[in-house]
């Protein structure tokens, strides 16, 4: 047996073992299949332009202090597109996540936090375009709003 075959055989054995000890969970397979149901050809995208938890230079900014004195934002996210800007602050609290949002270019009223495979949640924007949502479960989410020009805008998916 030559060396490459030897290596291939050893790796194939490891693959078989990984299939037994660390197989892809069924829920992960199901979530992958279901992802296509979120395809939305009618809405415009507000792309993720900054994430304090990202490590790529183009998407990095320093976490800044905000909120009451002494509290530090755990994660700051910025989205932009279709004439809409979204600033999102995510703070981990005892019971899920607290989301504080500030939106520009959006109709006052309601936005929806969409959670893939979970329940959507409506949030109310005040007259300054701000909202607060508490007890949001961790996992992939995006925000869907109506812009002042009447278009439906969704943010990029982020894992909260």
């Amino acid at each position: 047996m030559n060396r490459d075959e030897d290596d291939d055989t050893l790796l194939a054995r490891l693959r078989t073992i990984a299939d037994h000890t660390d197989a892809v969970p069924d829920a992960v397979v199901a979530a992958a299949r279901a992802a296509i149901e979120t395809r939305d050809l009618d809405s415009e995208l507000a792309a993720l332009i900054a994430d304090s938890a990202a490590t790529t230079p183009a998407q990095t900014f320093e976490a800044v202090r905000s909120g009451p004195p002494g509290t530090v934002a755990e994660r700051l996210l910025s989205f932009e597109g279709a004439g809409v800007q979204v600033e999102l602050e995510v703070v981990r609290s005892g019971d899920g996540l607290t989301l504080m949002g500030q939106l520009i270019g959006v109709e006052p009223g309601e936005c929806v936090i969409e959670r893939a495979g979970g329940r959507d949640e409506a949030v109310h924007l005040d007259e300054l375009g701000r909202f607060l949502a508490e007890g949001v479960p961790a996992g992939p989410a995006r925000l869907r709003c109506r812009s002042t020009t009447g278009r439906t805008v969704v943010t990029a998916w982020v894992s909260l």
Partner: protein, 202 residues
């Protein structure tokens, strides 16, 4: 064999764009194993790994119609899941700093030996865990089912594509070295560290 599985990835993406549900399923079957392996190779726990893989697929759906090189969708997915994993690790670290260390219990090495069919496999798996971290990471990605292309592995690990083959060879040599050094896991682990460079001698 399902004929969809013989199509190249660019053709699958085209069909998905044209609302072919079966093509989407075929695409997820081709790459979910790789994405899971990448997340686990980066030592994410099961919950974080599941979120990273799901978010990666959601991102592909979101970018489906603007994806520039559909023939490289595998590398795009690998890069995307890597970024998701790095973000998850940073969140995790920050959380651990805030809450103490109770969330840091390492569930990333599920050595459930009851599931292993033979002691020979258990010995191999123990030897694998005695490897240096860079080898464990690379080999865990290469264990993905179906096996990934080197371009996808390079994207997942942010490594030059030309270094994948030589590193794979060195790591498998090191693995054989640990296997030969004895059946005791504790011995294997120390042998793995003491013999750093053993694999460089070929």
């Amino acid at each position: 064999m399902d004929p969809l599985h013989q199509l190249d990835s660019a053709e699958l993406v085209e069909r998905v764009r044209a609302h072919d549900q079966a093509a989407w399923v075929a695409l997820t079957e081709r790459y979910t194993g790789l994405l899971w392996s990448v997340a686990r190779s980066m030592r994410l726990n099961e919950e974080d790994a599941a979120d990273a893989v799901q978010t990666t697929w959601l991102r592909l759906v979101e970018q489906l119609d603007t994806l520039r090189e559909p023939d490289r969708v595998g590398s795009w997915l690998a890069t995307t899941v890597r970024r998701e994993c790095l973000a998850a690790l940073r969140r995790r670290t920050r959380l651990a700093t805030m809450d103490g260390w109770e969330d840091m219990a390492d569930s990333a090495e599920p050595l459930d030996e009851a599931l292993l069919r033979a002691e020979r496999d258990a010995a191999l798996w123990r030897a694998f865990h005695a490897l240096p971290e860079n080898c464990r990471t690379l080999l865990r990605v290469l264990m993905a089912d179906p096996p990934p292309k080197y371009a996808e592995v390079a994207a997942a690990l942010d490594m030059p594509i030309g270094s994948i083959g030589p590193t794979r060879r060195r790591c498998l040599d090191a693995l054989r070295g640990i296997l030969l050094s004895g059946p005791e896991p504790s011995d294997a682990r120390s042998a793995g560290t003491n013999r750093g460079g053993h694999d460089e001698s070929r």
